[in-house]
């Protein structure tokens, strides 16, 4: 009996997983068509709302992204120096900080901060609108909620997250810089040259490509969870939490796949 119960339970979960996956892909396709196709069919993008979102998601996140990346840069530099000191190779701290920030940590930290800060906001906003019938009101005014709400947020994300990633990369490297100059007594110019030599354009560009796709994931998960709200305030809370958990999970999975694609030695 318990076996059957367990099998039934996990079967239902599995089916539910595929249902969610299918619905989410359909939402993603619709959003992309509202961004890339609809403008040619006489349904212009709402640039005003898009800029508002860019400010909310991007400009307002600059301080927190900077502070956290700076700290992460410092941390990596300290950990690296601790190991490299034994070999008298502390100058390589520059390589380590530069490459790991640009390839991995810059995009990843930015994505996680934005998922927590803005992905959740998208879920909560759309969810609250669903609960208070505002989504229905949009529809009865012949306005499509995806075109009206999701498209501006998604465009804003796609533009702003790579920009924030660039900031995170540079501020993180600056963090390593500060530690190297103050603690490791490495000359300013030596550290600078070492970083410039270690970094390839590929490191930087793959990071940006990743962050662009992270942006799509965060916007889509947020919007999907918002549309999926059931019930009242409690439902909004649950969907908001789920949006953060799911988008961080999916960002890390995507990161794994991109790393395999770009750097796999297998």
């Amino acid at each position: 009996m318990t076996l059957r119960k367990t099998a039934g339970h996990s079967g239902r979960k599995l089916v539910l997983f595929f249902v969610h996956a299918a619905r989410m892909s359909s939402l993603a396709l619709q959003s992309l068509s509202w961004i890339f196709l609809a403008p040619f069919r006489g349904k212009p993008i709402r640039w005003g709302a898009t800029f508002v979102q860019m400010v909310r998601i991007g400009v307002e996140s600059v301080p927190i992204v900077s502070v956290i990346s700076f700290c992460v840069g410092l941390i990596i530099a300290m950990q690296a120096a601790y190991q490299l000191e034994r070999f008298g190779a502390t100058i390589y701290v520059a390589d380590l900080v530069g490459v790991s920030m640009c390839r991995e940590l810059g995009p990843l930290i930015t994505a996680i901060i934005i998922a927590g800060r803005s992905g959740s906001a998208i879920a909560a906003e759309i969810g609250t609108m669903k609960v208070s019938e505002e989504l229905d009101a949009l529809q009865t005014m012949a306005l499509n909620p995806i075109g009206f709400l999701v498209a501006p947020r998604m465009i804003a994300m796609m533009v702003v997250v790579p920009c924030l990633t660039v900031i995170a990369d540079f501020v993180g490297i600056a963090g390593g810089f500060v530690l190297a100059i103050s603690n490791l007594k490495i000359a300013f110019i030596a550290y600078f040259n070492q970083t410039a030599e270690a970094l390839l354009a590929k490191d930087f560009i793959t990071g940006l490509v990743k962050s662009f796709f992270f942006a799509i994931i965060i916007a889509q998960v947020g919007a999907y969870q918002g549309f999926n709200v059931q019930g009242g305030a409690e439902g909004v809370g649950r969907s908001t939490t789920t949006s953060v958990v799911v988008s961080i999970f999916m960002v890390i999975l995507a990161d794994l796949m991109f790393t395999m694609l770009f750097y796999s030695t297998l």
């Binding site: 208070s132 019938e133 505002e134 229905d136 529809q139 009865t140 005014m141 012949a142 306005l143």
Partner: protein, 262 residues
């Protein structure tokens, strides 16, 4: 007789296994005020949501100006919706926008007018519902009655042919509720619209209705004019008019069984 503007044929719908509407058939004619009456949970709001395509029926036809709302393409539906206004039960104003922006939104999105023209039209509509000077207020700063009136202004910004109102007087004190009814009557004469009102308030029914449809358990119990309703001998209609509660049938054995049931 003129052609009906809204035609509903054999409409069936359900939430899960629970049947909500069981074969509704009715016609609504241009420029009449049609009231859908019934107790809470009888499916009257659901019927209204079907008229604007928010819900899809299990079976049946809904023709608006001759176009089937169920099978129409998105373009056709949108064209129809632009000429319809829906007043939601709780207003459903966009809380992130000011009252003025709420009212202006359909104009901004669907018409090529200059923003100065839109501003004038917005003030005009707000004036019609008695809210001039409130365009810069947020919906959260308004009282319940004012929210309803602002929502009504938004519903009529596109000068619709059909105005649908979901319980316009629910949750309002009798004086404000009567004010909303007056407003509906005023709009009807000023804008020559077809008005469909869902309600359970007998007082407002007799104030505004041309024809009345009484729903009970997803079926039409009565359909006719006010005078016909007053003369009706149907016990359920009488019970509704006289505001009598259901007779309490207490079967002790059944009650005990319900309590003890697993």
């Amino acid at each position: 007789m003129t052609e009906p503007i809204i035609t509903v044929r054999d409409l069936h719908t359900s939430y899960g296994h629970r049947k909500i509407l069981k074969g509704i058939t009715l016609d609504i004619y241009p420029r009449e005020t049609f009231v859908i009456l019934g107790r809470s949970g009888c499916g009257k709001s659901t019927l209204l949501r079907h008229l604007v395509g928010l819900n899809k029926p299990d079976k049946g036809q809904i023709l608006i100006k001759g176009i089937d709302m169920v099978t129409a393409s998105e373009e056709e539906q949108n064209a129809l919706l632009r000429k319809m206004g829906l007043l939601f039960q709780n207003g459903a104003l966009f809380n992130s926008m000011t009252v003025g922006e709420n009212v202006a939104l359909p104009l901004m999105e669907h018409t090529p007018q200059e923003s100065s023209t839109i501003r004038i039209m917005t003030r005009l509509k707000l004036g019609l519902v008695g809210l001039s000077g409130f365009e810069n207020f947020m919906p959260s700063q308004l009282s319940g009655g004012m929210k309803k009136r602002a929502a009504l202004a938004r519903a009529i910004t596109m000068d619709p042919d059909i105005l649908l109102c979901d319980e316009p007087s629910a949750g309002l004190d009798p004086i404000v509720a009567a004010g909303i009814d007056q407003l509906i009557l005023k709009l009807k004469t000023a804008l020559r619209m077809t008005i469909v009102v869902v309600t359970h308030e007998m007082a407002s029914v007799f104030m505004i209705a041309d024809r009345i449809c009484l729903l009970h358990d997803g079926e039409i119990k009565f359909l006719g004019t006010q005078a016909e309703m007053r003369q009706s001998k149907d016990p359920y209609v009488l019970q509704f008019i006289e505001r009598r509660a259901d007779d309490e049938n207490l079967d002790p054995d059944q009650y005990l069984q319900d309590l003890m049931a697993e």
